[in-house]
């Protein structure tokens, strides 16, 4: 069969509470926005299929709780992520300052094999609001200082840049996937040790003998 291999990417969204993580995800997956704020407790999961360079990619998006008291999923959350999306609110300098912390937290918990080149994407959300407090330049500088992370200014409310941002997220995660080594070498030959190990010895339970 000539079908391309299936690809599934685990994408984690991190950032302070109320920066708009859930809203971004909802805008992206469901094309919907609500002004109502509800804290995410634990986690929420959404799935979206996208085409990236004519490959069908399934994005498994893990929306996390920004509020510390609702963060209860621990290491499992970060383990095996293909991409991490860091979100801040351009009207909240505090949420921007927290990015360092979120990034470190991710790198510690997920311990990716190549932390310097792990695909992060940074989103400055809520650019539709007037009371902006973090300039584009400041955000870009921070991204530059971290090995040039891609940066997008988004509005979940007005659907600005959301699609583009997620496309980059998928593409960058895929780029990591493609250089995976193949595991086709045979492992060591089994050694016959005269049946000394328990499960090989004769006369044990359920041996057809």
């Amino acid at each position: 069969m000539a079908t391309r291999k299936k690809v599934l990417l685990k994408v984690i969204i991190l950032g302070d509470s109320s920066v708009g993580k859930t809203s971004l995800m909802n805008q992206y997956v469901n094309k919907k926005f609500t002004n109502q704020y509800k804290a995410t407790i634990g986690a929420d999961f959404l799935t979206k299929e996208v085409m990236v360079d004519d490959r069908i990619v399934t994005m498994q998006i893990w929306d996390t709780a920004g509020q510390e008291r609702f963060q209860s999923l621990g290491v499992a959350f970060y383990r095996g992520a293909d991409c991490c999306v860091l979100v801040f609110d351009v009207t909240s300098p505090g949420s921007f300052k927290s990015l360092d912390g979120w990034r470190d937290e991710f790198l510690i918990q997920a311990s990716p094999s190549d932390p310097d080149h792990f695909p992060f994407v940074v989103l400055g959300n809520k650019v539709d609001l007037d009371n902006r407090a973090v300039s584009t330049k400041r955000a870009q500088q921070w991204c530059q200082s971290k090995n040039g992370l891609p940066y997008f200014e988004t509005s979940a409310k007005e659907a600005v840049n959301v699609e583009q941002a997620f496309k980059t997220i998928a593409r960058n995660a895929l780029a990591q996937e493609s250089d995976v080594e193949l595991y086709n070498e045979f492992p060591d030959q089994i050694k016959l040790d005269g049946g000394s190990s328990d499960n090989r010895s004769s006369g044990g339970d359920n041996c057809a003998c």
Partner: protein, 459 residues
């Protein structure tokens, strides 16, 4: 009964229907509050998915500890990516409080979790199957994955890349898992931890075994030889000090019976036998004896350079068997009507399962009236399953169970050497049933030579 089985484990029994596949909207998130209102599109696609899932009685899911889908018995695992996320969340939350999530019950639905880092297996059954049974099915599925990859490889892969999408290495083996699950649902060998033997006179069997042994005993690093006819074993030979575990034989049987191409060419395939040694591959020479004899010979070695030696041995075995009439004896045994329970002539006895515990072999006579449909046979298997589970419950020494059900009367009888599960007509008395045990035991003494393999020689 089923509930008490779980008292000695740290099972989390929960009534929260939220987690069951009953409320599609809530179950995709672990939020306690209502989730942010999702759009009709997302909501309805989940509803369709969950409706489809609910139609099936039994689900098996495999995922990595990162929450990435690896296998689902039904449906497309990509579309269920959120559901897999939810599963890992449930496992992880319990793990964080230093506990292990083993099962969730909600009404008739039972969800069983098996954590085999770096894999997690989840079984969902809507037909009140015992916990142990579902767990054993999960172990079988896990073993099947190990048999294609080895545990060493599996651990290495996820150690190097926790985000690895294991489906990349599994393509092609999903079919084997599908078949294996069906096997675990239908085959008494799975319930009884035993194999079924092709019925034939013991003199013929001995001659076959001797022929295989003569060729095999001289080959260095050959560990096991098996001759198989469909679901039944004809003969086993083995290297001194090593024996084949029943669950490994089940994997071999499943591989052979699920792979049509073995019939057309001799094959050389690596296979890991998880109970024998999960760290590495055995190498199996698999071939059917001859065009005119559809028994499959499996020769297992640790040496991956042994193909031509084994190919040669197989050719000689077939030649010899043709000369000494063994091929003929096998063909006769394959086409012969399996021995009928009617021959035992026991009043009121409809069906039975007989397990020789020392040999881990069983006999299951063909179903006869009134068990004429798949559904009725399946129901009877569920009754057996429940009895087997009760007789073998760890720490309990239950020897006899007499059970009068609406459609049949059941008797389970366990001794040191034998487990016997008998199905009678509904109104059969206790006395009548116990008399039948004596009668059957005497009859079995005469027949067992042809029903079981007693001679498994070593070299």
């Amino acid at each position: 009964m089923e509930e008490t089985q779980e008292t000695d484990t740290t099972t989390l029994i929960s009534d929260i229907n939220d987690i069951a596949i009953q409320d599609p909207v809530v179950s995709k998130s672990v939020t306690e509050n209502e989730p942010v209102p999702s759009s009709p599109e997302q909501g309805s696609s989940y509803e369709i998915l969950f409706d489809q899932l609910k139609e099936k009685n039994k689900h098996i899911f495999v995922l990595s500890t990162a929450g990435k889908p690896i296998y689902t018995r039904f449906g497309n695992e990509n579309q269920m990516a959120s559901l897999f996320g939810l599963m890992i969340a449930l496992v992880s939350v319990t793990q964080d409080s230093n506990d292990t999530l083993q099962s969730i019950c909600c009404g008739q639905t039972r969800i069983v979790f098996l954590n085999k880092d770096p894999l997690i297996l989840v079984g969902v059954s809507q037909s009140s199957e015992p916990y142990d049974q579902i767990k054993k099915q999960l172990i079988y599925v896990y073993n099947n994955i190990i048999s294609t990859l080895t545990l060493t490889q599996l651990k290495k892969i996820f150690h190097n890349r926790t985000n690895f999408d294991l489906r990349r290495l599994m393509s092609g083996s999903e079919r084997l898992i599908d078949k294996l699950i069906t096997f675990t649902e239908n085959d008494p060998g799975f319930l009884l931890d035993s194999i079924s033997c092709l019925q034939m006179p013991s003199s013929s069997r001995d001659k076959i075994t001797q022929t295989i042994l003569t060729q095999c005993s001289k080959i260095k690093n050959l560990v096991f030889g098996l001759l198989i006819a469909q679901k039944h074993v004809i003969s086993i030979v083995r290297m001194k000090k090593y024996s084949l575990h029943v669950s490994d034989i089940h994997l071999i049987l499943n591989l052979i019976n699920s792979t049509e191409s073995f019939k057309t060419a001799e094959s050389w395939t690596p296979i890991c036998l998880p109970t024998f040694d999960s760290s590495g591959y055995m190498h199996a020479h698999i071939s059917y004896l001859a065009e005119d004899c559809q028994a499959c010979l499996v020769l297992l070695t640790i040496d991956h350079n042994l193909f031509f030696t084994l190919s040669d041995a197989k050719r000689k075995i077939t030649e010899k068997m043709r000369c000494n009439d063994c091929l003929h004896a096998i063909n006769e045994a394959i086409i012969r009507q399996p021995i009928s329970l009617a021959r035992a002539n026991i009043t009121g006895l409809r069906h039975l399962l007989y397990k020789n515990k020392n040999r881990s072999q069983h006999w299951c006579p063909p179903f006869t009236s009134p068990y004429n449909t798949d559904e009725l046979q399946q129901n009877l298997m569920s009754v057996y399953c429940s009895l087997i589970s009760q007789i073998n419950f760890p720490g309990r020494t239950l020897k006899v169970i007499f059970q009068q059900l609406t459609a049949e009367t059941m008797l389970a009888w366990a001794t040191e050497d034998v487990e016997l599960y008998m199905t009678f007509e509904p109104l059969v008395s206790k006395e009548c049933a116990t008399n039948a045990v004596t009668k059957l035991t005497q009859w079995m003494k005469k027949e067992e030579d042809s029903l079981f393999i007693f001679n498994i020689p070593m070299f």
